[in-house]
């Protein structure tokens, strides 16, 4: 899976949680929760959505790393098989 596809999966999951927001406007290093006013429940729902979409296991101990869009893309990409492109 390419990074673009991972990013799209994140946008889709965010669309379920914050439908009024445009996640494409978030800067890569911006704090996701602050940018989208996401509380801990929404954040958990985001991770559940990503787990269901991508099949990636996300241990609780890793939550603290996943604060920005770019960190999330990097983390998920490293857990997914490369696209071969």
């Amino acid at each position: 899976m390419t990074e673009t596809e991972v990013r799209q999966a994140i946008f889709d999951a965010l669309g379920q949680i914050a439908p009024e927001a445009d996640p494409r406007k978030i800067r890569p290093e911006e704090n996701l929760r602050e940018a989208l006013d996401i509380d801990s429940f929404d954040f958990l729902n985001l991770l559940i959505g990503l787990h269901q979409r991508l099949g990636v296991q996300i241990p609780e101990a890793d939550y603290g790393q996943l604060t920005t869009l770019s960190a999330l893309v990097r983390y998920l990409s490293s857990k997914l098989p490369a696209s071969g492109m």
Partner: protein, 370 residues
């Protein structure tokens, strides 16, 4: 007109789902009522036959006004929608009942309306906007929009309840700092083998501790009605939930004293999801016996809450932060939570409030027993 909260003085009958002569049974949805916060489907509490529809769609009526007469099997006709009437969630996927009704009146095709509600649901203001645009195309550049009607109504409802609270309730406030080391460590072990869908957040553990604490100090769980405290035997934890479009709702997790930490987590997720998509039931809106508000996600350390009348207490939680902590002569760093209680001094004294916070602390030091 059913009462759907301390802040509700009147409601608008949006539509009837029945007509005179129709048989109805307990639990049937017979009408839709519009409140300041949401459109709600109203259930009937009796089994019988609709004798007469008293209220007309579009009428704004004070709480307590009979909406219809139901002839109960073998008895005289009784007013429908008594005070205890409950409602079921609005299950329409694309448009609220008010939006549907308005669209019909204004001749707006809902298929062409862009919904701005949660999940793209079309709401009343979406229909009004569509109708307005249909008759007069925009001639000015876009300017910041004033608050929409639902937002203004929500604000008004909150204003009424909070003004009443500050006017009538002599609040007292207490706070304590709680070492969360053991609770968080226990939670980490509890979550470790669980799939992400079944993990529990600290917020659910705190609700469990509140429910257990209230069993030790029940005077904080109930209502101040007719100049006296009425303690509730059930603990219905109202949880303050901010809505993404502004405002807040306080649905209750019913009978929290009977629920496990996992069940409270599931209950919390359920009410948060439905509060944000406008699908709460009236029993959840009206039956809270105490309110819990957690503002830790926003970095707040201490919450000084305003009691939701006629309740007599509100428990507040802030952010869990690392702090220097002295214990038995040793200084260390611990995750610390500030818990507060705002309580009605007519119902309890500070001594009981302090005992509640003490109980909360003790319970969180033995999380495996919660």
């Amino acid at each position: 007109m059913p009462s759907l909260g301390a802040d509700m003085a009147e409601g608008t009958l949006v539509q009837w789902n029945v007509k005179p002569g129709d048989p109805v049974k307990r639990g049937d949805i017979i009408a839709v009522v519009g409140t300041e916060k949401a459109d709600i489907e109203v259930e009937v509490y009796e089994t019988g036959t609709v004798e007469r529809l008293i209220a007309k769609p579009g009428e704004k009526l004070p709480v307590g006004t009979p909406l219809a007469m139901i002839r109960v099997e073998g008895e005289a006709a009784v007013p429908a929608v008594p005070e205890a009437a409950t409602v079921k969630p609005v299950v329409r996927l694309r448009a609220s009942p008010m939006a549907r009704k308005l669209a019909q009146e204004l001749g707006v095709d809902l298929e062409k309306v862009q919904g701005t509600g949660p999940g793209g649901v079309i709401e009343r203001h979406d229909v009004e906007k569509a109708a307005e645009q249909a008759v007069k195309p925009p001639t000015k550049p876009e300017t910041p929009a004033p608050p929409s009607e639902p937002q203004a109504s929500m604000r008004h409802a909150i204003a009424l309840a909070m003004a009443r609270s500050n006017r009538e309730i002599p609040h007292y406030y207490l706070s304590t700092q709680i070492d969360m080391s053991k609770a968080l460590k226990w939670l980490e072990g509890f979550n470790q083998p669980r799939s992400i869908e079944n993990r529990v957040l600290p917020a659910a553990l705190l609700l469990k501790a509140v429910a257990r604490g209230l069993m030790q100090v029940p005077e904080l769980n109930g209502f101040w009605i007719e100049d006296q405290l009425k303690v509730s035997s059930e603990i219905h934890l109202g949880v303050a939930i901010s809505l993404r479009r502004g405002g807040l709702m306080i649905p209750a997790i019913l009978s929290a004293q009977q629920k496990s930490v996992e069940e409270l987590m599931a209950g919390l997720r359920d009410v948060i999801t439905r509060a944000r998509s406008g699908r709460l039931r009236s029993s959840e809106i009206t039956e809270g016996t105490i309110t819990v508000t957690n503002l830790g996600d926003l970095g707040v350390e201490t919450v000084y809450g305003v009691i939701y009348p006629p309740q007599v207490a509100l428990v507040g939680f802030g952010k869990i932060v690392e702090r220097p902590w002295a214990d038995q002569g040793m200084l260390g760093v611990r995750p610390v939570l500030t818990a507060t209680v705002a309580a009605d001094h007519r119902a309890t004294d500070g001594h009981r409030g302090a005992q509640f916070l003490q109980a909360l602390d003790s319970l969180l030091q033995e999380p495996e027993k919660l």
